[in-house]
Amino acid sequence: MTARLGQDSIWAIGSFAAPAMLLFFAFILLPLLLAAGATFTNHRLVSPEPTRFVGLDNYARLLSVTILTVQADQRQAGEEDVRFPTWRQSRQARPGLAGYRPAFHVDLGATRYVLAARDPLFVRSLVNTFLFALLVLPLQCGAALGLAILVNQRLRGRIFFRTVYFAPVVTSMVVASIVWSFLLNTDRGLINELLRALMDDPGAGPDWLGDPRLALASIALMSAWQGAGFQMLVFLAGLQSIPPEQYEAATLMGANAWQRFVHVTLPGLRNTIVFVLVSTTLLAFGLFTQVDVMTLGGPLDSTSTVVYHAVRKGFHEQDIGYGSTIALVFFMIVLGVSALQRMLAVKGAAR
């Protein structure tokens, strides 16, 4: 042995890094490369036919989008009710749109603007995923920070409250989802029963998971509840690393509670907040379990997410080539978002 203690030797570095590198290659890099390879083929999970090379077909199908305008039916002109032709009718006039289906549309008077795609469900899923992240990020991080400040007080029984708030995190997401789908049930769920009792109206209570406008928000609410305990602990650690002298000094200088929060607590938590935001975003992008258990992507695709879409294409429809393409493209998007967040954080630190 030539290397001495305290010196970096190539062998020492190698032997320490080797297990981690080995695992990284076997379980991260290799599957990624295999998936990247599969995106150029029509590989099926089960098929007697050989896998063929299809070039960029999968990418073309995934990423083709177009916007077109549709005029309301002239036959109906003069009537109150503006009627638009069905998609099949409006497509027949445009042979170039053969594989396209509508993902979203906006009506402005007698003109309809349609965002059409060859895989409209992917477009919807992508939008839903970002919408979910936008909903859950402030909700979950805000709740976590509030809870952390709450259980950081010198109150009696705070250990009990910490345990209570942390309990959902150690509950399996599948179990939590099942329990919540019972709570949110339209006709016999606890939440609607409560609403009915409070409002004294037997017809009250929205269709939480059955209404396309509410389903994603309901899932976001439930997810924030389930996940906030973990971020609370991270915030708690951050809060306890702020030296108490700073608070004392602030108090001596006459700062009130709000000023102490803004000028001592928030700057002290800067790194913690960046970590929590980045990790919560990544977790939010991976939304799958809740959707799979609670809504199956419905109603009307309002809760379909990219991961759910990839699993559905890859495994349920056994289209591994296309499923891999979705996963890889989404990986790039998430990588981009994380890089952006990191860049902003670094910029913020330099300021």
């Binding site: 069905t86 998609w87 053969a98 594989g99 049930n185 006709d187 059955g210 419905g298 429809e317």
Partner: protein, 431 residues
């Protein structure tokens, strides 16, 4: 425990050697069999049938391995990819063509005795492109359950085989039941069940109206079949049931009918045991509503197939021939209450013989049953149809929903080169 005398031990050893060295009495060859986990009665009946087979001859010894139903089909797929399939497999009949196309299972025509197969009703066979790939012991049938007293109180007639409810009449009854506050949601259609149930239950409605999932002459075209006028009528009907609050969109449990919260339950004959016990003579079993071409129900349940990798197909075939024998079929029906799939076996059961208490299910199977489309595309089509129904439940425009289903199905078929029904070029344009 007493010690064996050396003499006795020697004698036993001699006897043992003698037994296994006699030519023609070699140790039986093992045949592995996979099945999905079902209810206790059915599992016990299946085990007893295999035990009788093992006892009836000395050449083969069948070993049964059960696995959970939820992951069963993916387990078969995985085992097939690494060529670890057992000899005999239980398969849900509509997926048999897919397994045949994928090469998991082999044709049975030359392996099974012709007369035993000829006795089977359509609900006992699984075919693909004219060849037999699976055989079954029993079937289940769809039925409309209700209660005599409640129908009488509402002033509504009981539907019979000769005069089923028409779809329009049935809708009027549901509206009446809702208005008279008998039930908040008068019609229970197993809204919590996923996977194959939606297709199994509501594809017959399409067929009863003269539509289908796919054109069965080519198995390549869904356009005009799944989105034609008659299909659209059924889709609108189905959507209206939810829009008008006649069916609960997202029920909390599956006990609405037995707890008296629903007037009708549209479900399978597997419920008949429970409901007989619960309601006795108050229970009425009726055919599903007629959408114009007479009521329809799905044919065929779980069946047995022999895998491609099986090294002793003649042993596996002997087991299958044993299972579809008239006596075994009747025994299975007696133990589980399932509908036998041959007239001879039905005659041997107390329930299903002419005049038996449950003969009506057998009549349903004979008159109404229509197999699901025998194409490898079926699992994909069923998944698409399930999604279409769930979109209709949520209020999607029926015409758009069916158009979308047609495109998804034709796209899947094109992507799989017609699943062996034709070349890719013919349907490539359908994309």
């Amino acid at each position: 425990m007493s010690r064996l005398a050396p003499g006795a031990l020697l004698a036993a050893l001699a006897a043992w050697t003698a037994m296994y060295s006699t030519p023609g009495a070699a140790a039986p060859l093992e045949i592995r069999m996979w099945r999905h986990d079902t209810g206790d009665a059915e599992m016990a009946a299946g085990r007893a049938a295999v035990a009788r087979f093992n006892a009836s001859q000395e050449k083969w010894k069948v070993v049964v391995e059960a696995m959970p139903q939820s992951t069963y089909t993916s387990a078969i797929t995985a085992a097939s990819m690494v060529r670890q399939l057992p000899c005999v497999l239980a398969i849900d009949q509509p997926t048999v063509p897919n397994f045949a196309w994928a090469g998991h299972v082999r044709a049975l025509d030359s392996l099974l005795p012709r007369d035993a197969v000829a006795r089977l009703l359509p609900g006992g066979r699984g075919t693909y492109r004219g060849k037999l790939y699976s055989v079954g012991q029993f079937d289940v049938t769809l039925a409309l359950f209700s209660r005599r007293a409640q129908l009488a109180a509402l002033g509504v007639r009981i539907a019979t085989i000769d005069r089923p409810y028409s779809a329009r009449e049935f809708h009027a009854i549901l509206v009446k039941a809702k208005q008279s506050k008998i039930a908040r949601f008068p019609f229970d259609v197993n809204g919590r069940s996923r996977a194959e149930w939606p297709s199994y239950a509501f594809l017959p409605w399409l067929q009863s109206a003269g539509a289908d999932l796919i054109d069965r002459s080519s198995y390549l075209r869904a356009d005009g079949v799944l989105n034609g006028t008659s299909a659209l009528g059924v889709a609108r009907y189905y959507a209206s049931l939810y829009a008008e609050g006649l069916v609960e969109r997202n029920p909390a449990d599956e006990r609405a009918f037995e707890q008296g919260r629903a007037l009708f339950h549209y479900t399978g004959s597997w419920k008949s045991d429970d409901y007989d016990r619960l309601f006795g003579s108050d229970l009425v079993v009726m055919p599903p509503p007629d959408f114009g071409h007479g009521p329809r129900i799905g044919a065929a349940s779980w069946q047995w197939a022999i895998s491609r990798d099986c090294r002793h197909p003649e042993g596996a075939a002997a087991l299958l021939a044993h299972l579809i024998g008239t006596g075994e079929m009747a025994a299975m029906s007696r133990a589980t209450g399932h509908v036998p799939v041959s007239r001879e076996a039905a005659a041997l059961t107390e329930h299903y013989r002419e005049g038996g208490a449950r003969r009506i299910y057998f009549e349903f199977a004979q008159r109404y049953a229509l197999p699901r489309p025998a194409t490898p595309a079926y699992p994909a089509m069923s998944a698409v149809f399930e999604k279409t129904l769930s979109d209709l439940r949520a209020g999607k425009d029926p015409a758009e929903a069916l158009d979308e289903a047609v495109e998804a199905i034709e796209h899947d078929i094109a992507r799989n080169n017609g699943y062996g029904f034709s070349s890719a070029n013919q349907v490539g344009a359908a994309q």
